[in-house]
Amino acid sequence: MNAALIFPYSRWRLFLWRHPESLVMLLSAAAWLFLVAASAMSTMEMSPSLSAPLHAHSADGSVSFHPSMNIWGAEGWPAFLLHWAAMIVAMMFPSLASQLRVVAARSFWSRRTRATLLFLFGYLALWLLYGVIAEAFLQLAHQALPAASTFLVPFSLLIAAVWQLTRRKQKSLVSCHFTMPMSPSGWRADHDCCLYGARTAVQCCISCWALMLICAAASHALWAMLVVTTVFWIERLLRRPRQPWLASALFASALLAFCCL
C-alpha cells in the first residue's frame, strides 16, 4: 500500500470529480444569462411570452403588477413555468453546492450523475409547485381587488421584512443544509435522491418563500431578482447575518416602492 498513485486524468477531470457541483453552477450561470436576455427583450418589447409571461411591464419599464395575460391561458402557463424554473436555477442552485457534493459522495460512482439529477429534479419540482401557488394567489388577488394589485410589490417586500425576523426563518436557514441517509442502489436510491431534493426545497421554501414572492409580485423583473439574490447570499455568506438589518433594508424598499406608486 505504499506505491505512489498516478492518475492518468486531466486536471479538469480531477476538478470535476472533486467538485461535482461545478456543472450545476455553470447551468446556473446560463440561467442568469437567459433571465438577463429576457429582461432586455422585455424592455425592447420584443418577446412578451418570454420576458413577462403573466404580467406585462408598462412602457416605461415600471415594475407594478399589471397582468395582461390570462394565467389559465395555454400560452401563459408554459412560459411562466419556464421563467420561474430559470429563476430557481439561477438564484437557488448555487446555494446547493454542499448538498450536491454530499449526494455525489454518498452514491456509487456509476450513479453520481443520475443521483445529482434526481436530487435537482426533486428540488425544482417543489419550487415549481410553490411558484404555481404564489402566482395563482397573486392572480386571485388581482381579480378580487384590481385596484389594490399595484400594491402587491411593496406589500410583498413588507411581508419579506417581517418573515426575515421570525425564528422559523432562522431555523430553516440552517435546515436548508441538512443531510439524510440514502439507499445506495435500486429504485430506493432514486426515490431517496428525489426525496432529499424535495425535502431540501421544503426547507428552502420555508426560508425564502417571502423573498421569492417579491419576484413573483414584480413580474419576475430583473431588479427584484437581484435584490432577492443579494439578500439571499448576504444571509448565507455572512457569519453574522444581521437579520434586523436585512429586514430594515426590505422595509425601506417597501416604503420606497409605496412612494413610487
Partner: protein, 486 residues
Amino acid sequence: MPRTRQDIWKIKDDTLKWYARAVAVMHKRAVTDPTSWRYQGAIHGYDPAQDPFAKHGEKLPSPSEQNTYWSRCQHGSWFFLPWHRGYLHYFEQIVLKAIKDLKGPSDWALPYWNYSDPSNPKARCLPPAFYDPKFPDGGPNPLLVKERAEGANEGKPLGTPLSADITVCLKKLGFINSSGGAGSNFGGGRTSFSHRGGVPGALELTPHGSMHDAVGGDDGWMESFETAALDPIFWCHHSNIDRLWEVWRHRDPRHTNPTLAAWLSSIDFDFHDATGKAVTLKVNQVLDTTSPLLDYVYQDVSDPLPAAHRLAEREAAPMEIERIPEMVGATDNKEISLGAQPNSIEFTVKPPSGPAAQARHAIRAAPPEVHLNLENVTAEGRPIHSYVVYVNLPEGANASNYPQLVAGLLPKFGIVEASRESKEHAGDGMNYSFDITHIVSTLQASKSWNPERLRVTFVPHVPESKRTVTPNTKPVKVGRISLYYA
C-alpha cells in the same frame, strides 16, 4: 518570556488554587458580563432549558448579542482547533486578570490535562483539586461539579485507554478531511463558519469527543455543547487538545497547517477580552502560540509515540496524496438502532469503478485507503452508551479479544444537540469517518478479508456508564454505514 501551560498532574505550585479562586470570582459576575463564568460557558453553547444557573425573570444579553457571541463553538469543522484556541486564549486572559486583581501571580497559565500520558497511572483520573468538597480558602470548591460521570469525583479512572487514545490522530498526515466527508484527517473538514459542522477530524473524534463522554458520563455537563464549558475541567481538557495540535505539528515536518486563505483569513471569530471589550480574531493570528498576542508554550510537546512508529509511518506514507474517495458499499436507509447489546450489520461491497479502481490498478493491489463512514447518527434523548466500532468481528466472538479490528470509538458527545432542529442545528445528527486501512491490511495479510462483504459491529463502551436501561432510554440511531476506497 511566554507563560507555560503545565500538566495538571505535574503542577508543584498554586496554579490550580489560583484557578479555583478566579472561577469563584467569575461565578459572582452577572450573566450579562462577558467575563462571567456563565457568559464564557454560553460562548460554547447555550440553551436556556439546559442552563443549570438559570433564574426566573433574570436579564440575559440581548438577542443580537447572543447571536454574535453565544453558541459559537466550531465542531466537525477545520475551524475546530483555531476557534477553540482563540476561545481558550481570551478565557485564560479573563482568569489571569481575576488572579492579578486578587494579587496572584502575573504569569498564570491555563493547565492541561494529559489523560494519555503512559507514564502516569492516574492520567485518566481527575486531580483531587477538581473534586475535593472543601476549598482550602474555606467554603465549597469552585472546581467541583457534581454532574460528572460515576467515579469521576472519587478519583477513579475515566473512560478506557481507547477514550484517551492519541495514536490514530497523531499519525494523520494531512489536516483537512477529504471532500464530501469521506475520510477524516487531523483537523476536520472544510466548512464555512458553522456551529453544526460536518465530519470531525481525527483529533476531534478521539480523544476530544471520547473524553467529553468519559467525564460527562450519562448526563453530566461535559456531555453537552450547551453545558460543557461550565465544568472547570473542560478548559483543561481543551488545553490538552490544543497542546496535541502542537504535538502533531512538531512530530513530523510533513504535518502542516492549511495554507488556504479561506481558513487563514476569511473568518473573524468574536470574543471579549479580559476587560470585557469586544475583539475579533482570525485563524492566522492564533497559529503561533508564542506570538505577543497568545504568549504561551506547553510544558511538553514531545512526541508521545515510540520512535519506531515514526519510522514506520515515513516508510509507509504514500508519495502522492491526491485522493478522490469513492463509495463502494453502504447499508440501505433503514436506521440502525444501537442499544445496550452489541449490534452487527452486514452489507455488500462492490468493486470500485471510478478513481479508486484506477488507483488499485496503478498499484496492482488493494486500494490504498479504506474509510468507514457513519452517517446521520442521531439520538432523541441522552444516549446510554458510546460504542466501540469493530470491522469484521466474527459472530459471537468476545470483542475484547480482537483489538486489531477496532475501527474507533463512536462518541455520544453532542449527538442529542445535533439531532434537534434549532437555529444552530439542522437536526440531521452527526457524521463520523474512521480510517480502517490498517484493519483491511491485517485481514488481507491473514487472508480473511472478503472484498464483497463487510460486517460492522457496535459494542457498548461500558465503563463510562452503568445506568439501568429503562423503557424511556433512547437508543443511538445510525442513518447509514458506508465504505469508501480512496
